[in-house]
């Protein structure tokens, strides 16, 4: 099929005198999905994105060899990426007083910072305060979907009905049956690759052809079978067979750059919101986009108390504007969405719009990561190189704790992400001792023989883990910043101890020699899976939105991103964010037509 390389042009002049059917704040997975669903229902939508529209293919340069880049992928002098030590020894705002011209989150510290330096925010312009937190933000059309990790997983009733299962926290106001048809639609519309495993706790998607495993990964899969556990090829939000209905995305050719760098795919086989959702929505003629538009207030009709639009600042000119709409959809990412609600104080909504419950900013949760294990597959030592990293990811080991068993130390569970085999850079070179011909041979002989994995565990949603607005600190545009009051608890610590022990046990069972374990929990925020700050629920006293992500207080206000998740589960959230947004926006469009919002 024909692939259009060029995106449709954004309109130069956005008509702000008109009242749109809906204004969507944010252009990532949630905002993109809202635009797709609402425009396909014929609604006129204005999308506001705080960041720029980047020439993304030129940023990503997916096939560029390291030696064809003057700094082998590193950003030019003047850029600095925060390290684990900086996040832990210092307190936010981390970039304050830095002598570097630009400061990026830790993601910039992976190999390839030059490819993401314009996608990630400059921490100098975007400070935050409070407890330590590794907050990763992307301000650009598409948001973090431009560089996301692509692991696309479903939740199950072990997650939606978690309280029923183990007594902790709250159930979601929906069950798997409610969202399953929308997961199916996301699968078909955006493409996902994987292997069916028939697991009740990790439902299968409608998969396109899977990524393959390496020798060591097959060995681990076989070992886990003996333990009644599963290793499955990375379930990637990547179209491996192509999408006939989307002219902006190519199928995946297994180039693998997405897994060698902080992410990104310049042929858009990996899902990103612009090519997957936004450009097709523009082609309906119903979507208008304004970039460089930093929303700072949901505007309220003084008479009705309903939302009437968005107040925003142009990031370049610093001029203030109002966008008028009949429905306001907040999809700015979990923390930015909660910030926007809290910023929107009015006589009708003194604690921030949609916050009569006082729950906005609370029940903040995510995934804890860091602990892991690395091993040596001895059969591979000295074997000739094979193509092992032409993939969007290696493998996933679904949760196996607290399903039928009850762990003494913790509730909920964790999964492992991992991979093994040759990669473009032999990471073992950094740990191989000595020098000279023997060193060089050791590096060569062992380069493809390692396998490693790390856990992603559910952080419990707790009311006392929250963020609010800092009374003093402001960002570069004068908007109050977030202040964190958030830390891991004992459940997370016990779970992380178990990750190390279980990881070791699985490698040993599979006959893989354990060569290292890591028990260090990474800083709060590291997983980039923040959730829960405007949670769903049936009770307006203890939740912010209903099961259709509609504000209990303001019926023409919807919050359609990860902030609405009641619990974090241990599965990566992007696919669930999009399935929920699809469901909610379909409901919204139907109510809109009936004149009910």
């Amino acid at each position: 099929m024909t692939l259009l390389k060029s995106a449709p042009p954004l309109s130069q002049d956005v008509d702000l005198s008109k009242t749109y059917d809906a204004v969507v704040v944010g252009s990532g997975a949630a905002g993109g999905m809202a635009a797709h669903v609402l425009t396909s229902q014929g609604m006129d939508v204005l999308m506001l994105e705080a960041g720029k529209k980047l020439p993304i293919e030129q940023e990503l340069r997916s096939m560029q060899w390291p030696y064809d880049h003057p700094r082998r992928g590193d950003a030019p002098p003047g850029y600095h990426s925060l390290s684990f030590n900086e996040y832990n020894i210092r307190t936010p705002p981390y970039a304050k007083g830095s002598t570097f011209k630009h400061v990026m989150s830790y993601v910039g510290g992976w190999g390839g910072s030059d490819y993401v330096k314009n996608i990630l925010v400059d921490e100098k312009d975007h400070p935050y305060t409070g407890t330590k937190y590794a907050w990763v933000r992307a301000r650009a059309l598409g948001g973090k979907t431009n560089i996301w990790g692509r692991l696309a997983l479903r939740l199950s009733d072990y997650d939606f009905k978690a309280k029923t299962h183990d007594g902790y926290g709250d159930d979601w106001p929906i069950s798997y049956a409610d969202i399953e048809p929308y997961y199916d639609r996301v699968d078909r519309y955006l493409g996902i690759s994987g292997v069916k495993e028939n697991l009740p706790h990790l439902p299968d998607s409608l998969f396109q052809r899977p990524n393959k495993l390496t020798f060591g990964e097959v060995k681990l899969r076989e070992g886990l079978k003996k333990m009644g556990r599963v290793l499955t090829p990375y379930r990637a939000g990547v179209t491996t067979d192509g999408l006939k209905h989307n002219k902006y995305r190519s199928k995946c050719y297994g180039r693998g750059a997405c897994d060698r760098r902080p992410g990104g795919c310049d042929i858009h086989a990996a899902f990103d919101s612009p090519t997957g959702l936004i450009y097709p929505a523009m082609d309906t003629g119903h979507l208008t986009i304004r970039t460089n538009s930093i929303a700072h207030e949901v505007l309220v009709d003084k008479n009705t108390g309903k939302a009437r639009g968005i107040g925003f600042i142009d990031s370049a000119t610093r001029k203030s504007y109002e966008a008028k709409a009949k429905v306001v959809i907040v999809a700015a990412s979990t923390l930015e969405s909660a910030r926007l609600l809290l910023l929107s104080r009015s006589p009708q909504h003194p604690n921030g719009i949609g916050n009569s419950s006082g729950h906005v900013g609370h029940n903040f949760c995510e995934h804890v990561m860091g602990p892991g294990v690395s091993g040596l597959v001895k059969e591979l030592v000295g074997k000739p190189p094979t193509l092992d990293d032409g993939r969007p990811g290696g493998f996933y080991i679904p949760r196996f704790r607290n399903l039928k068993d009850r762990q003494p130390g913790f509730v909920r569970g964790y999964g492992f992400e991992g991979g093994g085999g040759f990669s473009i850079f032999p990471g073992n070179a950094m740990g191989t001792p000595g020098f000279g011909a023997q060193f060089k041979k050791d590096v060569r002989d062992h380069a493809g023989a390692f396998i490693g994995m790390g856990g992603f565990g559910e952080v419990l949603a707790r009311y006392e883990n929250y963020m609010d607005l800092d009374p003093d600190e402001k960002d570069a545009w004068g908007i109050p910043t977030l202040r964190f009051h958030y830390q891991f608890g004992d459940n997370e610590r016990k779970m992380c101890e178990d990750m190390v022990a279980a990881g070791r046990e699985m490698f040993e069972e599979a006959g893989i020699e354990v060569v290292g374990t890591d028990s260090q929990m990474l800083t709060e925020g590291w997983s980039i899976h923040e959730l829960g700050t405007a949670r769903m629920g049936n009770d307006p006293k203890t939740s912010v939105v209903n099961q259709f992500q509609q504000s209990h207080d303001v019926k023409n206000l919807f919050v359609v991103d990860g902030s609405t998740h009641v619990s974090a589960s241990c599965q990566n959230p992007t696919w669930t964010i999009m399935a929920l947004a699809w469901r909610s926006c379909e409901y919204l469009a139907s109510e809109f037509k009936k004149g009910n919002v």
Partner: protein
Amino acid sequence: MTVTRREMLAATAAALAAPLVASGAAKAAEAASATGVAPKFFTAPEFALLDELSDLIIPTDAHSPGARAAGVAAYIDFRLSESLEPEQQTRWRAGLAAVDALSQELNGKAFMQGTAEQRVAVLTRMAAGEHDPKTPADHFFQELKHWSARAYYTSKIGIHVDQQYKGNVYQRGDYAGYDAK
């Protein structure tokens, strides 16, 4: 425009061509380094010392050319020349001086004046502290080795000739690897 078919072919061709170019690279790169482009940051003697140290860490063997052929010292020199961190530049200068000081202590002469065996002896002493660095020379060895490896294994020679890396190509048919059965 079709899926970048032309680009695909171009990319594949480049990937295929690269190893061929690189396999003759020992001579080619030696010739290039022999052309003696002036270092940007280091003095000529410092550069010669760095070049020698990197090539002792990753030498040419029967399998592939080493750090000198891969232009490791030139890459480190370039990165330091544009560095905005004066302490990083100072550290490298001091590190090279520490190598000479250690060589004086062990062999009674500067590193580059030593025999091949004497040079290896200096590096062996530095490497002994690799896992628990104490002296300035120990610390410098860590940084020197880290950067040498980083530069070598991201070079054409490192990727294509030494590692014989198979990826960063368009896989037009089935993906490489094993099915999950």
